[in-house]
């Protein structure tokens, strides 16, 4: 206990002395969030929209305002012919054109299902899909408020395609993924490097000559990084709440538990890497391959797991971020209660225990 405490104190002193690294560990994650968050955010807002209103009725004007007020669309032109629409789209001056037919207002009043047309520049299939998603939901919303009641609101002539985020808030959907990714970087890298550095300078040998077991050493060594990673996670989440309106619908304790389990697994991975790597460079590369890439590519963060080839889907089962993402999205976005997330929590626990046990065994063996 006293020995673990000595290691713990020493580790903190080293970290605190190395201000730059500490700042990187704590603030760069939040900075990453800002960077990615805004980059992703910007892309889906302020879509340049041209409007061809052939009806020019109160109803049609209300629909146009609904588009503009959504803040997803900025009206850049009012046009009067299909030729103009084509020109604007080709010149990339507009990314979408809303065409409202002559009888729109009358159809709405008569309860006949009216149709509007949205033309979209399909260069970028992803953006196009997103734009269709926005337009569809705005038109539906407008239909409801115009008619006051169902059944048939205005329908778009385009077939709505899959859009996985009915709230139109893809940033929010991505934030949990970013948190996982960023935590993986700080936790894995900081632990792995802190031990490999000691190997490089030779202090670890001096410590091994002391009668201190592997367990107190590992505990004393990793708790500071655990606390730092947790702080960093808290900062990211608070930043996401303040800047992107990330909700917190679930329980804070559940969130703490999910974060802790995930970080413990990441620390274990870092320790394990440090037992195999002799230089910081090797450790860094090992972390890239075993942690960052899978978290980025195979967790469902960017690419949905269901659309992956079968072989890759199997690999995702050993990527802890896969479970963490489900848990985090559930807790934060949907307020899912903990017991419904039991499988994910179990998976995270197993991963963390397995990594820590493997790392301890390897560290103990290396000592001989």
């Amino acid at each position: 206990m006293r020995k673990a405490l000595a290691v713990y104190r020493k580790e903190w002193r080293q970290i605190l002395r190395d201000r730059r690294t500490l700042l990187i560990l704590v603030f760069v994650p939040a900075f990453f969030l800002l960077l990615y968050g805004y980059a992703l955010n910007w892309d889906i807002r302020h879509i340049a929209l041209a409007v061809e209103d052939r009806d020019n009725s109160p109803e049609s004007r209300a629909l146009v305002s609904a588009f503009v007020n959504s803040s997803y669309f900025d009206q850049v032109a009012l046009i009067h012919s299909p030729a103009e629409a084509e020109r604007l789209l080709d010149a990339n001056e507009a990314r979408a054109v809303l065409v409202i037919p002559e009888r729109f207002g009358r159809d709405v009043t008569n309860g006949v299902s009216p149709q509007v047309q949205v033309l979209i520049n399909g260069d970028n299939a992803n953006t196009a899909t997103t734009v269709i998603g926005y337009a569809t939901s705005i038109v539906r919303g407008a239909g409801v408020s115009l008619r006051g009641a169902p059944p048939a609101g205005p329908r778009l002539s385009a077939e709505p395609r899959i859009w996985y985020n009915p709230e139109l808030r893809s940033t929010l959907f991505l934030v949990p993924g970013l948190i996982a990714y960023i935590l993986m970087i700080t936790a894995v890298i900081s632990t792995a490097l802190s031990i490999v550095k000691e190997k490089e300078v030779g202090t670890i040998e001096q410590v091994r000559m002391a009668p201190i077991g592997t367990f107190p050493f590992v505990v004393g060594k990793s708790i500071p990084y655990f606390l730092i990673s947790l702080t960093s996670a808290a900062l990211i989440i608070l930043a996401a709440m303040a800047l992107f309106g990330l909700p917190m619908r679930g329980n804070w304790l559940s969130l703490l538990l999910a974060l802790s389990l995930f970080i413990a697994g990441a620390l274990g991975t870092g320790l394990l890497i440090s037992t195999a790597a002799d230089t910081q460079q090797v450790a860094f590369q090992a972390a890239m391959l075993t942690s960052f890439l899978p978290t980025l590519m195979l967790s469902g963060f960017i690419f949905p797991i269901s659309s992956m080839p079968r072989a890759l889907q199997l690999i995702t089962y050993v990527v802890p971020a896969r479970y963490f993402l489900v848990a985090l999205r559930g807790i934060v976005l949907k307020g899912t209660p903990l017991w419904l997330l039991a499988p994910q929590m179990m998976a995270l626990t197993i991963y963390a225990l397995a990594m820590l046990a493997l790392a301890s065994v390897r560290l103990a063996r290396e000592a001989r």
């Binding site: 000595a6 040998e205 001096q206 000559m209 009668p211 201190i212």
Partner: protein, 315 residues
């Protein structure tokens, strides 16, 4: 302290790394309170031997006891009894002198009262008073070295392993350091120290020469020099030592020659070879001989002899 008891006993200790034998069948004893020097060139197997004796590395075969504890059976027990200073005097660069002491005291399990007392002792011993808050990385070589020694003896071990403790340190600090080792030895601490500075070996009570993993000679420095008994060594100074070596090597009665700085050491096969017989062929070739004198064998002579007998070359 009992000068007749062994602090360290090593029997046929061997360590392989794959197919490579780093330490081969090494046996020796170190008595309590002795300063025992472990000499050998780089890669000879000194550090590997020490690591086995400290319980850090398991021997491939053979055994050893340190302070009466078997290193294979109870490596943790060994660790509690010994102090160890690695060849890089590894301190935490980003910690202060004081924090380094607290850390090492902590991992040796010292309680607060004992730590405070030992801390004072170490600061005094290392001459670090007033520098307690200096970062280790800002200390000059000699202080770093003495701080590393201090950290290694915080828990008052009876046996101390020092692996090349004087590498890269100025001569004055080296002398200071050896005085500290003498003091420790007088208080009964057994010291096993490796070095490749042969002048330091003269300060050891006994030395062991290790070459290519094998123990080549052991004893007091006087004893190991007996390897030359009956074969005098002449030191010859000339203006063209390299040419002189070639000529002397071809002269009967000369066993071998080696260059020591600007002088030549010539090992003779026996007492019957007179200096005149060596000098005349040199003069005949126009080489000016400044001086010829019989010298006592130095440890370096012994070292080269040992390497020659092993059929190898110095690294």
């Amino acid at each position: 302290m009992d000068k007749n008891r062994n602090a360290i006993e090593v029997r046929r200790l061997t360590r392989r790394f794959g197919g490579f034998v780093a330490v081969s069948d090494v046996s020796f004893d170190v008595r309590e309170g002795e300063i025992f020097g472990f000499l050998g060139s780089n890669g000879a197997g000194k550090s590997t031997t020490i690591r086995m004796l400290c319980g850090l590395l398991a021997p491939t075969s053979g055994h050893a006891t340190v302070g009466g504890v078997d290193v294979t059976r109870d490596p943790e027990g060994v660790k509690r009894r010994i102090g160890y200073m690695s060849q890089r005097f590894s301190l935490y660069e980003l910690l202060t002198v004081d924090q380094n002491i607290r850390f090492f005291g902590g991992i040796y399990g010292l309680d607060d009262a004992r730590l405070a007392e030992r801390r004072r002792f170490v600061i005094d011993m290392a001459g670090l008073a007033g520098r307690e808050q200096t970062l280790a990385r800002d200390l000059a070589g000699g202080w770093r070295q003495r701080l590393a020694l201090g950290c290694a003896i915080l828990h008052e071990p009876r046996i101390l392993f020092l692996d090349e403790p004087t590498g890269g340190v100025d001569p004055l600090s080296r002398r200071h350091f050896w005085r500290l080792i003498d003091t420790l030895s007088q208080s009964g601490v057994t010291v096993l120290v490796t070095t490749h500075y042969l002048d330091e070996a003269e300060r050891c009570h006994r030395v062991a020469l290790i070459h290519a993993g094998k123990l080549a000679a052991i004893g007091t420095t006087t004893e190991v020099k007996q390897i030359f008994s009956g074969r005098p060594i002449l030191e010859i100074r000339t203006d063209r030592p390299v040419d002189a070596m070639r000529i002397l090597d071809a002269t009967s009665g000369v066993e071998k020659t080696s260059l020591f700085g600007t002088a030549l050491h010539v090992v003779l096969r026996g007492r019957d070879v007179t200096p005149e017989r060596l000098v005349s062929p040199l003069r005949a070739q126009g080489i000016a001989v400044e001086s010829v004198a019989e010298v006592a064998p130095s440890l370096e002579d012994v070292f080269l002899e040992v390497i020659d007998r092993a059929g190898g070359t110095a690294a």
